[in-house]
């Protein structure tokens, strides 16, 4: 069974541009989470999508946005890129139902975004 896949692996953008990162969850998983791992700031929760809806959002500005498609894959968009957005962006998926509140998240290998 394929794990969580993210693309691209690496992305280099210029300040002010937009970046689009993609994530395919494990088959059957309806929840997708995005995390940012920036140097010195650790792993921080960005966004949570489930069944196509945004369920929760971390403490990030509105230029970080995303969506979840009917096949549960997800896209993270970062507009007006700033140098500080350089980080590893990790996507995770899990199954969330009333009876699976305590289930682990499975992570992809990440997209390393560099803003120059």
């Amino acid at each position: 069974e394929a794990g969580v896949t993210q693309s691209p692996t690496h992305l280099i953008k210029t300040r002010g541009q937009q970046a689009t990162l993609r994530c395919s969850p494990i088959s059957g998983h309806t929840s997708v989470y995005w995390y940012q791992q920036a140097l010195g700031l650790g792993l921080q929760f960005l966004l949570w999508y489930d069944e196509g809806e945004e369920r929760n959002r971390g403490n990030f500005p509105p230029r970080f946005s995303g969506r979840q498609f009917p096949n549960y894959s997800s896209e993270l968009n970062v507009n007006a890129l700033e140098l500080e957005d350089s980080a590893l962006y990790l996507c995770a998926s899990s199954l969330l139902t009333q009876s699976t509140v305590n289930t682990e998240a499975f992570f992809g290998q990440g997209t390393r975004l560099t803003v120059v």
């Binding site: 989470y33 995390y35 929760f45 929760n56 403490n59 509140v101 305590n102 990440g110």
Partner: protein
């Protein structure tokens, strides 16, 4: 911002020794999870312990949870060079909106 702290920040041991990492958190939780990260890539899930559990084992891993002290520990027994990685604890109150600790860098020397 990080919910909790992990200590030590870095740990260097010889192959065959045990490694213990500690994690503290601040708010109530549904579960606490431990992850491993190799060379700044994806996170590998190691173990999940529910808030009503006190200890859990998985192979060479042993995790304890003390909700009264809001702390957890991860013990890796008989460490191997391949265990060299960063280890993170993460707490979940709802779904997998995880709040991560700062992590412990473990180096196992052969």
């Amino acid at each position: 911002s990080q919910q909790g702290e992990e200590d030590p920040q870095a740990l260097s041991i010889q192959e065959g020794e045990n490694a213990t990492m500690n994690c503290s958190y601040k708010t109530s939780i549904n579960n606490l999870q431990w992850y491993r990260q190799n060379s700044g890539r994806g996170l590998v899930h190691l173990i999940l312990i529910r808030s009503n559990e006190r200890e859990k084992h998985s192979g060479r891993l042993r995790v304890t949870l003390d909700t009264s002290k809001k702390s957890s520990s991860l013990l890796i027994t008989a460490s191997r060079a391949a265990d060299t990685a960063s280890y993170f604890c993460a707490t979940a109150k709802y779904g997998n909106k995880l709040v991560f600790g700062a992590g412990t860098i473990l180096r196992v020397k052969s």
